[in-house]
């Protein structure tokens, strides 16, 4: 196979990963890395490097659209970015010391967890929270809704636990080169009780900054191969922008179910390959 054919296939695959990632809200990285390693037999370290770059691109590319919706909360985002960037730097430093088959197995577990989470999403009303720190840290805000006043107020709870979980999300992101949006949403939605839409849009902002924090380590260790990274980055970016366009007028619940099974299958395969030392 010539490099031109290989690059075209990588571009097409990355486009698909970006499309699925944006349609299902799980991000491109979770399918991209198994695709690159299991199908294209790319070295896991190159796959992680390319994925990390594409994560920064998609997060930044989608930002303007998310801002227009008016849900994201800049203060919650910035506050939690302290935790995610610290986590990312630690995770990336650790990644260069963990053998690749170990990384593959951790990745498999994250895939299975993401699949589980994508099947257990619910959007409820804001909870009645009375946490004084929510006001002190100026995180209490409103989001647009179909009520009489046109907006619904919300507060933030269990900030310390959320902060610690965010450190974990950052560490996973730095370790595996993914956005780990699933864990970020878990921290905000489940632990801090932030309304779902606010969690997902704010998480998007945080993903880019988190990935940038670990990018320096990957770049200086030579994990970002320009010949691979360029087609992956452009493919995932194009795919995710296309996905965002489709998302507006389509139902995705069936797609999410199929995607969840794909993730479990990929997760098992990553674990098996890691276990057998093939990655």
């Amino acid at each position: 196979m010539s490099l031109l054919t290989f690059t075209s296939l990588i571009f097409a695959g990355s486009f698909g990963a970006g499309l699925l990632g944006s349609l299902t809200g799980l991000g491109g990285g979770v399918v991209l890395i198994p695709l690159l390693t299991l199908v294209f037999h790319v070295d896991l370290r190159y796959a992680i490097g390319a994925s990390l770059i594409s994560v920064i691109a998609t997060s930044s590319g989608a930002a303007a659209a998310y801002v227009r919706e008016g849900y994201s909360n800049i203060r919650i985002g910035m506050f939690l970015e302290v935790a995610t960037t610290l986590g990312a730097v630690s995770g990336a430093a650790l990644a260069t010391r963990v053998p690749t088959h170990g990384l593959a197995m951790i990745f498999g577990l994250v895939l299975i967890y993401s699949a589980w989470l994508s099947r257990h999403r619910e959007e409820g009303l804001p909870h009645a929270i009375d946490n004084p720190w929510s006001d002190k840290l100026r995180m209490s805000a409103t989001f647009p809704s179909e009520t009489e006043s046109g907006k619904t107020a919300y507060k933030v709870d269990r900030i310390r636990a959320g902060f610690v979980t965010m450190f974990g999300a950052g560490a996973l992101s730095g370790l595996l080169g993914i956005g780990s949006g699933a864990v970020k949403v878990l921290a905000m939605d489940r632990i801090m009780r932030i309304p779902f839409k606010v969690s997902t849009t704010t998480s998007n902002f945080m993903i880019g900054v988190t990935a940038a924090a670990s990018a320096g380590i990957y770049l200086s260790r030579g994990y970002v191969e320009p010949g691979l990274a360029f087609s992956v980055m452009l493919g995932v970016l194009a795919g995710s922008l296309a996905g965002a366009k489709i998302l507006v007028h389509s139902k995705v619940s069936l797609l999410r179910t199929i995607f969840a099974f794909v993730l479990v299958a990929l997760g098992i395969e990553m674990i098996a390959n890691g276990w057998l030392g093939r990655i």
Binding site: I56, G61, V67, R68, G70, G216, L219, F230, L234
Partner: protein, 144 residues
């Protein structure tokens, strides 16, 4: 409401188009940040595309070798080292320049947040944004 110590009234006003000119609230700040990120990613994607096309033209008939790991370090501390390659029109150097622009985009967003919160006179969040910036710069320049 501008200048009030509790800032986020602006959130949810749909990009802050209703805010009077010259007043910075959270919604306006986010709208500017969103635009900043979009411009950054478009710029970097264009540079990467240019480099990618040159890369393919130069190496089209070779066989891919991404299955074997050969470290190719890029030192962010010395971005100027890319310049000779770019001047020569070296495809990999152009792609790397695009990647550096991409990584710089979220950093610019955080720098903008520091400035924005300073204009809102929100000392707490100036401090928080600065903390994020310090960790980011540490990760990019020191930790390797």
């Amino acid at each position: 409401m501008a200048g009030s110590p509790i800032g986020p009234e602006g959130i949810g006003s749909g990009g802050g188009s209703g805010a009077p000119a010259g007043v910075l609230n959270d919604a306006r700040m986010e709208a500017i940040m969103g635009r900043l990120l979009q411009v950054g990613v478009l710029l970097s994607a264009s540079v990467v595309l240019l480099g990618g096309v040159r890369y393919l033209v130069a190496h089209a008939s070779e066989s891919p070798k991404d299955g074997t790991f050969i470290a190719r370090p890029i030192q962010l501390r010395h971005p100027m080292e890319l310049l000779p390659g770019i001047a020569r029109g070296d495809a990999a150097a152009i792609i790397e320049l695009g990647i550096l622009l991409l990584v710089a985009t979220p950093v610019c967003r955080v720098i903008f947040a520091v400035v924005g919160f300073a204009l809102e006179r929100d000392r707490l969040y100036v401090g928080i944004s600065l903390a994020v910036l310090v960790v980011l710069l540490f990760g990019l320049l020191r930790a390797s």
